[in-house]
């Protein structure tokens, strides 16, 4: 039996131009028109039938290391909402409906509310950033993300002085996310950042990768990318952003408080209780390589943690 996997789509599978034209033309006019108050809607196709994003400028902080194969980025995913095996999400994530999509902004801010994805994206210029991604399991990738600084998004909601942390939530819907039928984690998936971490210029809100909109298995339509932390901090398919005074408890902290801390900065000197974090296997490479402090972003982020015992605040 021949089942075509949605992940194996390539250029020729991209939505035909005519169909694309029938939709309102947010993308056509360029998702990346800076500051323009666009009212059109961004059509996000089902599954990983990603469509090209026009007008993306190269952003800062990109690495010139060899990028991980697009096929590997699309088929080797930890996204437990779609199954615990890494090959599951690319097979089941097509069930998630990403259009329409809305994001709820709550908590300690002056402009809370529920916003459509189009509202969220409209004022931001998109840029490409090639980041390293280090999974807590000991493998890594280099991924060309498309997105905009998280800080720019946060500023729009005018967080108050009480907002010391930002909490994010993934979609919770058992019909769309078959993996949620089992309580492997305390759904919905939650993650959080300290405010200064969230406002750091490296923190990215991603909407695409490899020149196209995010495939569902990679966290469509909107995900976080925090490259100096283990991959699970980079929460996918975000539906809620909550500003709060106290430190949030992430899903992984609940699942294993001894194993997963709030910070979860990439740190070769602090082992996971069950395995070493000294080395990693870059997907596509044979030999392992040394894991770098803060995943190689020490120069940018070390100052966030001066005076902190990173063994205690792991």
């Amino acid at each position: 039996m021949l089942i075509r996997k949605p992940s194996e789509l390539d250029e020729s599978d991209v939505t035909p131009y005519e169909i694309y034209q029938q939709r309102r033309k947010f993308l056509q006019s360029g998702l990346a028109v800076a500051g323009a108050a666009l009212t059109g809607s961004l059509w996000l196709p089902p599954a990983s039938a990603a469509i090209s994003i026009a007008k993306v400028k190269p952003g800062p902080f990109s690495t010139d290391e060899e990028k991980t194969d697009r096929k590997d980025v699309l088929t080797y995913n930890n996204f437990y909402e779609f199954g615990v095996s890494k090959s599951d999400p690319s097979k089941t994530a097509h069930r998630m409906k990403t259009d329409p999509w809305s994001v709820e902004i709550t908590g300690e801010c002056e402009k809370p509310g529920t916003f459509t994805l189009e509202d969220i994206l409209a004022p931001h210029a998109l840029e490409e950033r090639i980041y390293r991604l280090r999974c807590v399991e000991g493998w890594s990738m280099v991924i060309p993300w498309i997105g905009f600084p998280l800080a720019d998004l946060i500023k729009r909601f005018a967080p108050t002085s009480k907002a010391r942390y930002v909490e994010f939530e993934t979609l919770y819907d058992r019909k769309q996310m078959p993996g949620q039928r089992r309580r492997i984690l305390d759904w919905p998936y939650r993650e959080g950042l300290r405010m200064d971490e969230a406002m750091h210029p490296l923190s990215l809100m991603a909407v695409g990768l490899y020149g196209k909109t995010l495939p569902n298995q990679n966290g469509a339509p909107l995900r976080l990318v925090v490259p100096w932390k283990y991959g699970f901090k980079s929460i996918k398919s975000i539906v809620k952003i909550h500003f709060r005074e106290t430190q949030p408890t992430s899903s992984w902290m609940k699942a294993g408080p001894r194993e997963y801390g709030f910070y979860s900065n990439v740190n070769p000197n602090v082992p996971h209780p069950r395995w070493s974090q000294k080395r990693e296997r870059r997907i596509g490479e044979f030999r392992k390589r040394r894991t770098l402090m803060f995943n190689g972003y020490t120069e940018q982020v070390a100052s966030l943690y001066t005076g902190m015992d990173l063994k205690k605040y792991f």
């Binding site: 096929k71 088929t75 080797y76 437990y80 699942a255 069950r274 070493s276 000294k278 296997r281 392992k288």
Partner: protein
């Protein structure tokens, strides 16, 4: 009738080669998947997982030989039991070498630290170390030489899969369903033995009384 006897004879002769080839099938599939790039983005991890799981499966299949004989009257399972056990050892060796070579690249210092610091590695190593004497004493000469002690030594066959399940359990991040399945199967296989033991001793007791 002669034909029937001949057929039985042939069956008997073909049993071991057939089982032998069948036991190599998982390895053949794995090699084929590896060479045809079907193991996904992280083939080395996939090889480690597969060889580990086949070790556990063969340990359980070996343990199933005796209950199958008692429950279904299949004598042939006992005739291939030793081969099945040796295949468990074979896949365990492949699993260990995957770790030593493709995971640690023979960095003995790191490997030693792993054994000391990582409980799941400690248990995995212990499992392999316990398998060694069983594999080494599996030939007929050793069975004769060790006599009663052979049976005592080979009782480790009950402990080894248990350690294997623990090894798997401690490795998984959040979803323990898979190691749980192996654990339940193992529990069933062990319980069948306990039940049979109590049952046969009761029958023996009754016949004595009468």
């Amino acid at each position: 009738m002669i034909h029937h006897a001949k057929f039985r004879e042939m069956q008997k002769r073909l049993l071991k080669p057939a089982v032998f080839l069948l036991c190599l099938l998982p390895l053949a599939v794995l090699v084929w998947q590896l060479l045809s790039d079907r193991l996904g983005a992280n083939p080395i991890d996939a090889v480690a997982d597969s060889t580990g799981e086949w070790t556990l499966r063969f340990l359980l299949i070996t343990l199933a030989a005796t209950p199958l004989k008692h429950l279904l009257g299949w004598g042939w399972t006992i005739r291939v039991r030793r081969m099945l056990g040796l295949f468990a050892f074979f896949y365990a060796t492949l699993h260990l070498f995957t770790y030593l070579w493709l995971d640690q690249f023979f960095d003995w210092g790191e490997i030693w630290l792993d054994i000391l610091d990582r409980p799941f590695i400690t248990v995995g190593m212990l499992t392999f170390v316990l398998l060694l004497p069983l594999a080494a004493t599996s030939n007929n000469a050793m069975v004769r030489r060790l006599g009663r002690n052979w049976k005592r030594l080979h009782r480790f066959a009950y402990v080894i899969p248990l350690l294997g399940v623990v090894h798997f359990w401690w490795l998984v991040k959040a979803d323990v369903r898979e190691p749980l399945v192996y654990g339940v199967l193992l529990a069933v296989l062990l319980l069948l033995r306990v039940r049979r033991k109590t049952f046969t001793s009761r029958v023996a007791g009754e016949s004595c009384a009468s």
